[in-house]
Symmetry: none
Subunit: 258 residues, 2 copies
């Protein structure tokens, strides 16, 4: 489980993003998954400034992240205080010297770093919409990762939308951080008992009898058969009560008219 | 590993999406992860048509998916041929009767269905940008899932960007599909479809009306409530047929005596 302090150790770095909406979308994804440190690397500030202006539109609730984001002119400046630096890349026909780990294998390394108290900072880098991270930019990374996509034979070039790529990476961190965590508790409602189910079975048998279903379809109306139908009916005791109420009402009406 | 045939069994359904760029972004995410069947549920066609027009801008390479996407006026129509129906929802303060599984726990169910030869179709539903899926729309789902997000104490409402939510869900499927997936045994019986379940719901509503259950217990007799009762009734098409036979026989008797 990633604590708030763990999360604060991650910095998302967008390198050369051109589209202000994508910067806003990245900030929104960060907010959804509880990360707050954003850095923008760009030799001109227009897209970042436009994203800050537009944030009310494109980055619901992410205004604070954009407001606190920092602009850097060069990648080395943006990375200076980071220990682990992970670069994202589409595999494609790029020739890189480092191994490229699928995201689900890279996430544990990043998690371990984030969960180490005293780690100054870990960085997750995303390249521009057009080109992704260049080989030169990738060379600043300790590790490279790629989001496993579906590449048909004829795919020349697969690349993800920047906001979606950020969302998927932060989801993977959150997801991997949850493993070993307890599953979300089942609803606390009292479960249906075998007795509830058997009473349902008997009521349904009676309904089938009274409405002459049993006479017309005897093969479907023997108790084991009917029991297999009523088994899945009720998970909770309340559901069982509701079904019993419905069946009793049917019986009441059917008998009244006899 | 999800094969191309497995992937073709999944339909992504966007319910009430308003923003054409989001429809385009969803199509793009589908293309990235190799899924192609998209359905749009909307009572007016403008956002879908705008998305088709804009696709060269907002949905790089996803033109074919948008071109082949189908528009439906109602959710039951869009779901009719689907067996497993999974609805996505932000947990928030919604009160739903079904348990909500975190995405990483829901994915294996969906994968199993997709990897079962002969499965007609599984559906993954996303609600509108403003409201998400309503309780009424959620009542058509067999299972509910949520993307685990980071909710600080003061978060009133967390919701993800639509395109990002689609990307995260399809990533999880791709990711889970990569984990040593075991072969799934052939199904021995045709599974129940959403249309089967909806016909059961309508028959039960009619029975409740005719037997005056609705008048006496109106709180238990609204359609979403009844739908939650009928969801677990039938796993197979044959079970659905048996239940329909029982309900029709009740109706026949009740009407005969009027």
């Amino acid at each position: 489980m990633l604590s708030t302090a763990d999360r604060s150790r991650l910095t998302v770095i967008l390198v050369g993003a051109r589209n202000p909406s994508n910067i806003g979308a990245a900030a929104r994804a960060m907010q959804d998954f509880g990360f707050s440190s954003l850095r923008i690397v760009n030799d001109y500030s227009a897209p970042f400034e436009a994203a800050q202006l537009e944030h009310t539109k494109s980055a619901v609730g992410a205004a604070t992240i954009l407001h606190n984001a920092q602009l850097f002119a060069t990648l080395p400046d943006a990375l200076a205080d980071c220990t682990l630096v992970i670069g994202t890349t589409a595999v494609g026909d790029r020739t890189v010297t480092q191994p490229i780990l699928p995201l689900q294998q890279a996430a544990p390394h990043l998690l371990t770093t984030l969960q180490t108290p005293g780690t100054p900072r870990a960085a997750l880098l995303f390249g521009s919409e057009k080109t992704g991270l260049t080989n030169e930019q990738l060379s600043y990374c300790n590790r490279l990762t790629t989001i496993p996509m579906f590449a048909p034979e004829d795919a020349r070039h697969l690349s993800m939308n920047l906001g979606q790529a950020v969302a998927v990476c932060l989801y993977e961190l959150t997801r991997s951080g949850l493993e070993g965590a307890k599953p979300i508790p089942e609803p606390t409602a009292a479960p249906a008992t075998a007795d509830d189910r058997e009473r349902l079975t008997q009521l349904l048998l009676e309904v089938m009898q009274l409405t002459e279903y049993t006479r017309r379809f005897p093969a479907n109306a023997n108790p084991p058969q009917v029991r297999s139908l009523t088994q899945p009916l009720a998970t909770t005791h309340n559901e069982a009560e509701t079904w019993m109420g419905i069946l009793r009402q049917i019986l009441w009406q059917a008998k009244k008219k006899k």
